[in-house]
Symmetry: D2
Subunit: 319 residues, 4 copies
């Protein structure tokens, strides 16, 4: 089956890193680092790339930056893996701008949260996704459930309705609600081509036992090979191996604690991913979009220690 | 004292309606309605106009719409009252875009929340306001504390630091934290020209007793004269009168319940303001920006009943 | 109108301290200190005494301790002020035990929260109060709304129903929901003999402007004369004086911060009241019921500084 | 190793139902039903019995009722399975009363939450458990983490400290925090004899993958055989079977929704367990301790439908 333009219909599964957006120290996009990062992820065997998500600081980027990130990653991936693009924004009009730009730049799929700036109800959420799906021109649209950022939890009833109406092709669940996740699978498990993706770095083994199709895990920026091993073990029924790999990755994820409580959880998380990628020699700078604040030297050292303890080989100092 | 351009230094006080942004049924800006609304507010004796705030659906508007709203309101006000403009946005870059546009369009002051899309800490909040204050070119910048929308509470310590550094000229407190409000006044009461504004519709009498300089009250869209009476009574020490007026306005505010729980609180609140303004003959349509959802006929009828009970004279049907 | 035994029907108003329960260093009740505390409060002009509330560590006391506290305070008060008694407990059976014991020991009124150990709904709350009211033998029963302790907010609808059915004679609102408080007054303001009491130490001036009948304020243990002045000023329409007194008391209440974050907010609050009362020469020890933890020396010194700054005269060291 | 009295040192694992406390319609303990329930659970192969927990309405029972429940269950179990007893209460003094009573009545182990009536900090929690452990006379003490009921989450740091000091022999985690659960296991996995028990009915498969030693699952009252199968499949590495069994039990657990939102979640949960047990012919009445409210006829019928759909055989009408 093919969609207009000849690409195959996308079914997201496996490991999908929410690719960080490298910046140079002056805040400009660092395209060379971005290209190296894409190669780093693809070499590890990831299934797809997700750009302009939370981990990609997508909501903070302006439109020209968004366009360039999508175009560069699509070009670099060169068909080796599909590229799905975050289009989340405050309201419907802005998300539609993001959608059109992503589609024009070559996205293979779209990912969107509930609209934000205060809590919304099912009726607004469904109107939002209906408008986006109508404009997506056949590109699959994934619902991204992340109440910690947007202030609303997608209700199970709403996701089920949207899935059955064909508005959405899957869900990325970063809500931490594993009962809700199981409920979605029990309700939608028979829906052809629907993807249930966990957004958790830390209990992906459990989510896969619960029949997640894959994971969009921020830490897959830093250790994509680890998540690919975890996924493979789970898919092949080697559950104790999956758990052991998750245990290692769980402790590796303590890099996100390095910046706390000096900076916000958001800065500490994305900042630690970038710091680790600098130390692993993948990108050049751990600069973040304002108002996010990068880690300081002591925090970078803590990241280095955690990476070492987790079996990785940090070499650079991350400055 | 004058700022560049010759305008007087602004000290916000009194009643400042967060002006709704009228739309026509097809979603376009309805400038004729906006102009009538400005006249309606000014005729009631409000002290200033606040456009592109939460009540103005500011975060949902695109840049050309923002520019037009500011320019039209500034022109219509024609110096009879200062116009302060909401520039809140997800991150610093976007808020700076909004700021430059507002300044160019003639704003007399700027109002901004914490950056949003997840909680931020003091360090990010202060970096955000520092960047904005540096770009404001002498325009006063007000911090807008509305955790229900942005997910972060401005800490007292952070507001005090920003005030003392001269980054902000005042605070609009929509957090409902009246102890925090008193603390701010006890800390900053002696700071020349600093404005403490409550964002509450419903306990403005108490906030004024606690020495608020004024109020940015959403319901002042609908009954500006009532809030002006409340303010005058409080300023002149007629506290029982202030309370009685607040009691009436408190019950009038039950219009915001009409749409619940069918639509979100945000839709229900702004939707009811617009419905009431249609019924009062001020604007032409109660259409809202997607994904917000307008009231339905039964809910409009409920609004009409509440307005009647509150002593107003609804005449139109609000469709 | 009189109740059996010839006492007058109680209408709670004015300043009602939630009397702390002095313990000796070994954890036993310190009756001599309790008697001095009762005299200290009465000398300041309080309207009634509330024992075995949150401030009295009531929920932690066993039945013989409860009985002794009530009996001793009733005897000491000797009719100079009514004594109302907290009977809050996990479930209905236990609260009924507390009720019978309080009544037998001479209580003039009863105060009870929602049942706790998890959230309850209106239906359970109303069944609870119905059972208690049926057993109260004419003693007035006050509902105590303190969601921070019991995990449930009393709904306005539920309080209104219970008031109209005559199950409750008033409400102590420690929820901080000042809009809910106003709603109760607008709904129940015409109900003969019903008392609306704020549980706030820190915005009692505002609550009185909003027509509270009085206050059950923990800090009235420490500075009962201050709260009596605040109440008198408000009742006589001297609102600016009421606010100024509240401002002083607001800052005095910073004693509750001394123990944070070393101990819980509960320990820090009740612990600071007892420490202050030791320093003011009223009681002998600041020991608390386990598992609450008393303040340490540095924290006691901080309490002393705050009392001094607030115009009181601490003399003892509070050990 | 043996404790005084000759019993073996307890290591809790497997399926441990939190036994409900059957009442007759007039509210008295129904011992005949309790004995049948014990037989029903033991016949299904459960590892131990937990009485006077949340599911046992323990916090609502008075002391004589508590004593009788423990004594009767110990007698009925007759050494076929250990009996652990909930001693949770508001403060330390009351929990100590419960502890002494439980020990005297023959308990094999003790289970206790944080003290409640407001949030407590680590320091109070650890003081509480230290006092209880000191009085336990060698009986193992389990910490029960259930923030939805007690208002405090046990911190990982606090649990680790108490485990290493030997104050507690295990944890029952009903917090839903699966990352915290993994952290505990990574910190305490090497601690001889320490039990990590999930309190979840609905993701026990995942918790077992994460190396839980067992589960204290409320629904194991209703379908103990199902949980025993789930546990066995997981222990033998048949993870897909474990998941399938959990899927069935997950849907069976929809009985807890039958009473919502008419009654509280607490009433709806325990009420549905009792209703199901009546319909399964195990106990005689679904009466609850006041203020909890039993299900009504329509809700009972809904329970019956869910049980049928889940493969059980309800026969009675549950009145």
């Amino acid at each position: 089956m093919s969609k207009p333009g000849g690409k195959q219909r996308l079914h997201l599964s496996g490991v999908v890193p929410p690719v960080v957006t490298p910046l140079s120290a002056d805040g400009a996009l660092d395209i060379a680092s971005l290209e190296r990062l894409v190669e780093f992820e693809l070499a590890a065997g990831v299934s797809a790339l997700f750009v302009l998500g939370t981990g990609g600081e997508g909501p903070y980027l302006d439109l020209p930056e968004r366009e360039e990130v999508v175009a560069r990653v699509v070009k670099q991936a060169a068909g080796r893996a599909p590229v799905v693009v975050g289009i989340s924004d405050i309201g419907t009009a802005r998300a539609l701008h993001n959608l059109h730009l992503a589609a024009a730049a070559g996205a293979d799929g779209l990912v969107c949260t509930a609209p934000f700036y205060g809590e919304v109800s099912d009726i607004e959420v469904e109107a939002h996704f209906e408008a986006l799906a109508g404009a997506a021109g056949g590109l699959p649209l994934y619902a991204y459930d992340i109440p910690s950022k947007v202030g609303s939890k997608l209700s199970t009833a709403s996701v089920v309705r949207m899935a059955r109406r064909g508005l959405i092709a899957g869900v990325k669940d970063s809500s931490g609600d594993i009962d809700g996740f199981r409920r979605l699978r029990l309700e939608l498990g028979g829906l052809e081509g629907f993807s249930l993706l966990t957004g958790s770095d830390s209990f992906a083994d459990m989510a896969l036992l619960g029949l997640a199709d894959g994971m969009i895990a921020g830490m897959a920026n830093v250790d994509p090979a680890g998540y690919v091993r975890l996924y493979a073990a789970a898919r092949q029924g080697r559950w104790e191996e999956a758990r052991a790999e998750q245990d290692r990755l769980f402790l590796l994820r303590d890099i996100v604690l390095a910046g706390l409580p000096r900076v916000s959880s958001f800065s500490a998380t994305i900042g630690s991913f970038k710091t680790a990628l600098v130390q692993l020699g993948v990108i050049d700078s751990d600069a973040l979009q304002p108002p996010l604040r990068r880690l300081n030297d002591a925090e970078r050292e803590r990241v280095r220690e955690v990476l070492l303890a987790g079996g990785l080989s940090p070499v650079a100092d991350g400055k």
